[in-house]
Symmetry: C2
Subunit: 182 residues, 2 copies
């Protein structure tokens, strides 16, 4: 993927072995085509999130599975579509901007739920609001995808992601936030 400003109608048409005129029959313009691509991406991602949530597993395995989703994206396309589009957000037509925001909001809501439930059950320990932690986690994973892009090594992303999740939602090694003893 090359971003909205980095791909052309001809690129997509060529991939489908049709002409740009034919592509125009299906999508009025580039903005509409772009929005459709985001929506499809968002739907697939949402399905994957549902599948993870349905598993009979704890919060921490779910978070790890969430990170693995990103790793899978990286293997296939080397970057999350919406992460890339966020970079050129200001140049996007409005319908595409809205679709990008929708994607991030959905991720945040899903993580918020997992984090909230995980803390309630005592599986996770973190200070601050679940929403803040959810945003931090999304930021960290998107950022890890972004910064590992220039480096061919996929392990670079995996190592960073592992580092993140360990710190963001580590199972409580201790109980009470008692006063430090020396």
């Amino acid at each position: 993927m090359r971003g909205f400003n980095g791909f052309s109608y001809a690129d997509v048409a060529g991939e489908l072995d049709i002409t740009t005129a034919s592509l125009h029959y299906h999508y009025r313009g580039k903005a509409e085509l772009g929005k459709a691509l985001i929506d499809r991406y968002g739907e697939r991602f949402a399905e994957a999130l549902d599948a993870i949530y349905a598993r009979p597993a704890g919060a921490l395995p779910k978070l790890r599975a969430y990170a693995d989703l990103y790793a899978g994206v990286m293997d296939e396309e080397r970057m999350c579509l919406c992460g890339m589009l966020a970079a050129e957000y200001r140049t996007l037509p409005e319908p595409m901007q809205d679709a990008v925001v929708t994607f991030f909001d959905a991720n945040e809501a899903w993580l918020d739920r997992v984090l909230r439930e995980g803390r309630k059950r005592g599986e996770l320990t973190f200070s601050g609001s679940p929403r803040e932690v959810a945003r931090a986690l999304i930021s960290a994973l998107e950022g890890a995808l972004l910064t590992s892009r220039p480096y061919a090594d996929p392990d670079r992303f995996r190592a960073t992601a592992r580092e993140m999740i360990k710190r963001l939602a580590s199972p409580a090694p201790r109980r009470a936030p008692a006063a430090p003893r020396r």
Copy 2:
């Protein structure tokens, strides 16, 4: 900033109130212009890092100052130049790709040093290698810039960054990794 594919020679020339032909006198082509922009950005960033390192402060304040650098970038341009270019890395001419990598490597090296020294002096506590943590920190901050782009609120970035640094390099609240007592 709109990225490499999102700005034109005419944009830059217009900003300088000259013509594109004049701009060509100074920079042979768009690739050379782009590389010069990255280099200038990298130099300024490096100067800021030197200034932070020279301060008579501990590792943690230095890390906070590092995060503030990103916050400053966000206020001015809403995105780190190299973070944005990393998203469209594959479409960049080679000299620009190299310049982007140089930027990230320099950041990593600086953080690695601060983290290493901070741990040695007992100011920071983290498991794993300083290099891994450095990468995680860069990822987190770049990602926070990226994902807060669609949301006008600058506090969104600040809150996420604070959340990160608290977790990434928190001063040890306790000493020994003793067995959990119940």
